[in-house]
């Protein structure tokens, strides 16, 4: 019988690292890490289009017994002020938590807090 990993791997990914990647590189990187069983905390969240693409890519990658999808939760976007809007500032998504759905479960979320639960015994390989 294979021994399950008891440790959970959390990776905090900096804004700088994310900004260096194109959208498609970012999504590839996230899915690759999450499929390994890692939980990622992105300092700078995904845009709505990237979130939709991540869901689409996740659906393509689902494997019956090894990968059932992702759990993803981010705090709401920064609201630009009137003057920021005037000068073309767009909304910026804030910190986001992404992990494998068999490992990470959201308990509660509101504008200011995300409560999650980690299901033990299913850590990163």
């Amino acid at each position: 019988m294979t021994k399950k990993e008891s440790e959970i791997s959390f990776n905090l990914v900096s804004r700088h690292k994310l900004n260096e990647l194109t959208s498609s590189e970012k999504l590839k990187f996230i899915l690759k890490e999450v499929k390994k069983g890692k939980i990622l905390v992105l300092e700078h969240g995904l845009t709505p289009f990237e979130q939709a693409n991540l869901i689409e890519n996740t659906m393509k990658e689902i494997e019956e017994d090894t990968f059932i999808g992702v759990e993803m939760e981010g705090l709401g976007e920064d609201r630009p002020t009137f003057f920021q809007k005037l000068f073309g500032y767009s909304k910026k998504p804030r910190v986001t938590l992404i992990g494998p759905a068999n490992l990470l479960k959201t308990i509660k979320k509101d504008n200011d807090m995300i409560q999650t639960k980690i299901i033990p015994g299913r850590g990163a390989k």
Partner: protein, 218 residues
Amino acid sequence: MGLFGKVSLASILQRIFGKKHAKIGIYGPPNVGKTTLANRILRDWTGDIMGSVSEVPHETRRAKWKKNVKVENGGSSLFMDIVDTPGVATKVDYKEFMNTWGLTKDEAKRRAKEATEGVIESIKWLEDIDGVLLVMDSTQDPFTQVNVTILGNLEARNLPVLIAANKIDMEESSPATLKSAFPQHPVIPISALTGYNSDNLYTTMVSHFSKKRKKKRR
């Protein structure tokens, strides 16, 4: 009889400023009552239905649509192509269909496979619609990633969205929570099952979706 005879001011304004036709997607997570609502709309305006409903999630796994559904609001009206989309989810586990809903392993695996394809199809439809009726379960936490992702995409595209706070026939429902969670969009409490407040929904659909907007492309 007034200056304009039987023609109402609303219909005159709509002719000048509004749209007469819009493709409206019914979106939301699985099991919030999208197809029940689509059936309600079609039954009320065409006498037809859209599709089967079930307690088992992901019952709708291919998008279905009905063209030219005329919805009226006093003197004004709007022709809508109603698209009932499969539930959007970030995970699909065939074991849940077996353990919770008693499907056989083969049925569960097939349903899960089709459900993943359905989610992809729903996301692709976002490119091709003029507005969204976003169905939320008013007994549940509204800040789900699916709701946030769909709303974010619609806002980025400048598409009109109307939130249907469904299942208000249930005791634990709280449409007020949805209203305070998404104050930037109209929220209509409704029971798609009983039809409660559907007249209010239709009135808002006609006025909200007939407004002309400049659609942003990606």
